[in-house]
């Protein structure tokens, strides 16, 4: 009897292989196969959620040959299908299916469609691997595979120089994060002897932790480094805005809903570990808060519609990481759950706009699209509402409130940062909507923009429904694990509510007044436009330390090691050789004299004895 979780995991892999090897020729066939498999996965995950038998026997991947009782005999791929995993699977498959649907038209005339759909299926395979992973090894394996698929998808149009650079940058930054993640896993494995989540949880509940103090913090922060790399948190956030070089549906699937959420998902998975060490938790919280603030500030000054949304994703992820750091991982996961839907909606909306404006991404060249693309405008507006957390109606409100509650309870400075970020979010989203959709069309493309075709429209409407419904108790409780839906019973709830509504209104009004009927951006803060020059700092650092050090090492290797040692010894032997050469002048007499000298020496030596 086929085990459903394994089928769920291996279906996308099989599709990717089928498309690559068999359907390389026809784009259409590849597109339909990819979409079919995505909807198949959706069906599977829904059936698993509603209670189909979810047992999955572990697959022994690598025998370590250890025969100690307490050491793991082998590295196994065991699937963990608790409600957390299944709810995340639902999110992944819903967004995945809709993105496939959306791409049918968006990528219709792309020449390399088989490679695109193979990449999407490979991504779904790796993402499922992370979600269903039962131990840290398996999670690490699929962690890197997700990095690979994002590399392939960002670099889909690899003939474009910027896309090639962006994909390389994404992979390398992720790789740095994976380095930290692997070191963390090694520490945990070395100390606990196992990396299986259930076993770890049991060991933690037992109490006597083998890993304590500095090493525990180091271990947790190393694991967090993996999340920083994948969810683009502060030090390693530079790759996400550039990742917008990939096709928009890819950005919707990967860089909004699923892949970047994997980091948060992993943090939620190991939240019982984070709870052990307050210092580590606080650092995580502050990094999350910092990223949220930084990204929100940067978003206010972006002109490319996709970059605005990218920075907004960064800031929302910052929120979630902050929540995990404040030991409110339920709130973080709930926000992840709702955010996935409305951010995917916004991205697909942006995709529809770009598709209809002939790949025009600069919002200052759009304008007046509300009249020409009413449905897209409506769905985009609802998505924005969720993002800026319009109270009671949108899902975003409920999840953000939960985070703000926990922030207020845990640490006041972080709460005020979070509130200010909420204000900024409202500000830049309203700016986006006002500039892109309201007012007059600013370019020819914008004037003759036409409503999105039906498959796109269908995807947008589905996501809109989900973004609204996602926040309500009846829907969320059915999907989320028990206790993950916020109860809002904390004493300071009303105060927090009031603060968030004020920030919301302030942000919207300010942005509306500032940007209504403008031809170009009144505010022009260059540091914000250049991402606070962090990117340039990194390139400088890389050029100095890596390439500089490489040049020095190469020079050292060529001249000192090869030149001096080898060259030197060669020259030495040459010199010694030539000394002996002079001993043979060629004249017989010289040899005779030498022979005579030899005789003399011989006689002298023997006679004196």
């Amino acid at each position: 009897m086929v085990q459903l979780p394994w089928l769920l995991l291996l279906l996308p892999l099989a599709t990717a292989a089928l498309i690559h090897f068999a359907l390389g020729g026809s784009g259409r066939l590849a597109a339909w196969t990819g979409t079919a498999s995505a909807f198949g996965m959706l069906g599977l995950s829904v059936s698993l959620l509603v209670g189909a038998t979810a047992e999955a026997s572990p697959f022994v991947w690598l025998e370590t040959g250890m025969f100690h009782p307490d050491l793991e005999q082998a590295i196994t791929l065991s699937l963990k299908t608790d409600r957390l995993a299944l709810s995340m699977m639902l999110v992944v498959t819903i967004v995945g299916a809709l993105v496939h649907l959306f791409s049918l038209t968006y990528m219709a005339e792309d020449k390399a469609r088989p490679r695109y759909y193979a990449g999407l299926s490979l991504f779904l395979f790796s993402m499922t691997g992370i979600v269903l992973a039962g131990n840290l090894f398996m999670m690490f394996i699929f962690w890197e595979l997700v990095g690979l698929s994002s590399y392939l998808l960002i670099g889909h149009w690899f003939t474009k120089k910027s896309a090639a650079e962006a994909s390389k940058k994404a992979f390398l930054t992720n790789r740095i994060g994976d380095f930290g993640f692997l070191v963390g896993i090694l520490l945990i494995w070395g100390a606990f002897g196992t990396v299986d989540f259930n076993a770890l949880e049991r060991r933690v509940d037992l109490g006597n932790l083998p890993l304590t103090g500095g090493l525990l913090t180091a271990g947790i922060l190393c694991l967090f480094a993996g999340a920083v790399g994948k969810s683009a948190q502060f030090p390693l956030h530079v790759w996400l805005p550039d990742a917008m070089e990939g096709p928009t549906p890819v950005s919707a699937l990967i860089h909004a809903a699923t892949m970047v959420a994997a980091g948060v998902y992993m943090l939620v998975r190991i939240s019982f570990l984070i709870a052990l060490d307050p210092t580590a938790a606080m650092t995580i919280a502050w990094i999350g808060g910092g990223t949220a603030l930084l990204a929100a500030l940067l978003a206010t000054q972006q002109d490319d519609i996709k970059r605005v949304l990218a920075y907004s994703t960064l800031s929302q992820l910052g929120y979630m990481v902050m929540a995990v750091g404040l030991l409110a991982s339920q709130a973080a996961y709930f926000h992840l759950f709702t955010h996935a839907f409305f951010k995917a909606l916004l991205f697909l909306g942006a995709g529809a706009v770009i598709y209809c404006c002939h790949h025009e991404q600069n919002i200052w060249k759009m304008g007046g699209l509300a009249k020409r693309m009413p449905l897209t405008f409506a769905t985009f507006a609802i998505g924005t509402a969720c993002l800026i957390a319009v109270p009671y109606v949108t899902s975003g409100f409920y999840s953000k409130e939960a985070i703000l509650d926990s922030a207020y309870a845990a640490s006041r400075p972080l709460f005020w940062i979070a509130a200010f970020v909420a204000l900024l979010t409202a500000f830049y989203m309203t700016r986006l909507v006002v500039v892109a959709f309201l007012g007059k069309a600013r370019s020819q493309y914008a004037r003759d923009a036409v409503e999105a075709p039906t498959p796109m429209a269908f995807a947008l409407t589905c996501l809109t429904l989900l973004s609204i419904v996602g926040g309500f108790r009846f829907f969320a409780e059915a999907i989320l694990p028990r206790g993950f839906y916020p109860t809002f019973d904390s004493p300071h709830h009303n105060f927090v509510m009031a603060v968030s509504i004020i920030c919301l209104l302030a942000g919207v009004v300010a942005s509306f007044l500032l940007y209504r009927g403008r031809e170009k951006d009144p505010l022009h803060i260059t540091p914000l436009r250049r991402g606070l020059y962090i990117d340039d700092l990194y390139t400088g650092l890389i050029r100095l330390f890596q390439d500089g050090a490489a040049a020095v090492a190469a020079a050292f290797d060529r001249h000192i090691l090869n030149g001096f040692f080898l060259g030197g010894t060669a020259a030495l032997t040459q010199a010694v050789g030539s000394v002996f050469r002079r001993m043979q002048p060629g004249s017989l007499h010289f040899y005779l004299v030498l022979a005579a000298l030899g005789i003399m020496l011989l006689i002298w030596a023997t006679s004196t004895v």
């Binding site: 050469r581 002048p585 060629g586 004249s587 004299v593 005579a596």
Partner: protein
Amino acid sequence: MTLEHYLIAAGILFCTGLFGMIVRRNILVIFMCLELILASATLTLVAFSRFRLTSGLPDIDAQMLVFFVITVAAAEVAVGLAIIVSLYRSTQSVHMEDLHTLKG
């Protein structure tokens, strides 16, 4: 006459041979001086053989050695001269200055 006389005579002969080899330029004369040196060596051998009697008679093994030295020297002269001939044919001269192709 004592052994010492014979040894000194052989020594003088050896030195003249050596002197000749170093001084003379003509390769054939050098070759002759070589023969001189060989003769002095055999003289010493025979002198010692006569001096050290084994069971009453001069030491026969020494004379055997001389006998073989002489035969080998004969063969050596033959081959040496053949080489000199072919050398002469290639370089048209027997003087030492022209023969330094085996320079190191």
